[in-house]
Point group: C2
Chain length 340, copies 2
């Protein structure tokens, strides 16, 4: 995929100490920036997602309408399109790619938005999963810029249970000796397939499987879904080191680590000023609604902070764009928020 | 551990077609069988559990009181104490150990109870997790024998989601090349540790981790819990092939496969005649209460079929005997059921 642009970041000093030299932020834009630069939306990617996998929420007649808004989709560092283990030259390539935080991601996205486009206000930041985490981070890092936020199926601080779920994902991948500490010459596909099977239990709810909803998606059996959807998903050009890079970012997600908050994520949440609709999914197994209910309760300075749960059995993938009902539910909320 | 007895089964023809020759059923009993053999309880083991790991629910003053009842704890086939991949001589050893069903387990337990002890009625069958699955199977295979049943945190038919969760567990273990298709000479500990980390996300609830309950259990950090509890748990003499043997039994659990029901598990449930209290745990991630609510609704011929949810944050391990509140809740229900 080369249908995107690249912002040359130069040398980026990362939170954890390394400097990523000649770093690249890959992004795609939809629509046109208006003259007073007042119609920009940022819509970051999710764990392993690439900009084209965000497009289901963008289109004429939808909330994210390119005829009205200028929508920027920045690729998360480590996703294989922006600077990543898989595309960075030595010495910081592959297993040596440095740790990247949510704060680092938002710092480079902020540079794109301000230095490159000269945008001072964002109408909206929104995103799914780690894209929701980036949404929270935008609202904490730049409260003066973010007018509205709609994080769906994600959190401002990665919960301990979520960290444990990801430990299982990581352990399955790295149990494959072909991974070789990250120095593989070919993808450790046995480990990647194992990771996919671990993920399968978490991505959708118990009820989704009880109801065999995967049949409506065109899969002929449970095993067909595990191979055809899940293994296929992670074998689709998703590099093992990239997956581990983003996994580290995810596990260490915490708006409290933003400079000025000394690790106090509740104070960081209280600093948010955006109008917010926070949308967990009813049966999300790793971002349960209870956690977001707690977060919304801490957003004391937000102009509006509403919890609105996406109903149904799709679990985390309610935010993945695969179920028309969930897409409409999210799109409707985005329209309402943008109109406010 | 040699503090148990062994029932020589001779040649056992298994449901799936193989014959396990010179098979052994290891068991331990607590208390004495009374003269008219009317005080017997069967309390099977769970996934990877051994008889001594059931003892937390047995004791003077408890429902399972050895001064009053004769409690038989049969070790599930494949658990390393009864006939298992790890202790069966060639040719059916290790990776060649045959598939074993819940029906097979109950068939050999039934022989122990009737042939060896001459018992015709069971006051109660109870068990946790796969022990609950065996409880259901007892009540379906021998409705005339089982007077009471109290399955906790388990199901009569393994749900699709539960099958997927176990696929992740299996994939993590077998991603380790040292597993070598089951022909390892030393335990594939990298895979076993990976399996343990996958399990960690499932065994306890999101809220358990949110509340850091593992600290009350004596673990000093999340990582200490993952290594000290979870990796330690599965490294405690639990053989990889044994784990996969029992995993197959679990994935294929279905009372509908009992002869006479032609795969109709609802009809099998309807045939149960025991007085039943069915106890899922509120936040169990792989045996969610909804599933057991459904099962109880199908037990139309049971003299009593009550759903009673174990409250709290312990998830599946509410039935593991580690939390005094949950132990009391289960013990109280057992007392009530035994008094009825």
């Amino acid at each position: 995929m080369s249908d995107h642009e690249t912002f040359d970041l130069g040398d980026v000093a990362l939170t954890e100490g390394a400097t990523l030299r000649d770093a690249k932020l890959a992004y795609k834009t939809y629509g046109a920036l208006n003259e007073d630069k007042s119609n920009a939306i940022v819509y970051p990617t999710w764990y392993s997602g690439r900009h084209w996998e965000n497009e289901w929420l963008i289109g004429p007649g939808m909330a994210l309408d390119p005829e009205r808004y200028f929508i920027i989709v920045p690729n998360m560092l480590g996703n294989g399109v922006s600077s990543s283990p898989s595309n960075t030259p030595p010495p910081y390539d592959r297993a040596r790619f440095p740790h990247v935080t949510f704060q680092d991601n938002i710092a480079v996205q902020h540079r794109l938005v301000t230095e490159h486009f000269g945008i001072e206000k964002l109408v909206l930041v929104t995103g799914w999963s780690m894209g929701a985490g980036q949404t929270y981070q935008w609202a904490v890092s730049h409260p003066e810029m973010v007018e509205r936020m709609l994080p769906f199926c994600g959190s401002p601080k990665t919960s301990r249970h979520n960290i444990v779920f990801l430990e299982g994902v990581k352990a399955a991948l790295t149990a494959d000796a072909d991974f070789d500490g990250g120095w593989y010459t070919e993808q450790p596909t046995r480990g990647i397939r194992a990771l996919a099977r671990v993920y399968a239990g978490w991505g959708f709810s118990q009820a989704f499987y009880w109801d065999e909803v995967y049949r409506e998606m065109g899969f002929s059996s449970l095993e067909d879904f595990l191979v055809g959807f899940w293994e296929g998903f992670f074998l689709d050009d998703r590099d093992a080191n990239n997956l581990l890079c983003m996994l580290w970012t995810w596990q260490n997600g915490d708006v409290g680590r933003t400079p000025g908050f000394e690790g106090d994520y509740e104070r960081a949440l209280a600093s948010i000023r955006a109008k917010a609709i926070v949308m967990p999914a009813e049966k999300d197994l790793y971002f349960p609604p209870e956690d977001e209910e707690y977060a919304v309760g801490r957003m004391e300075d937000a102009e509006r902070a509403e919890l609105r749960v996406i109903p149904g059995v799709w679990g985390h993938f309610a935010g993945g764009g695969l179920n028309p009902d969930d897409v409409k539910f999210i799109d409707d909320a985005l329209k309402e928020l943008l109109a406010s």
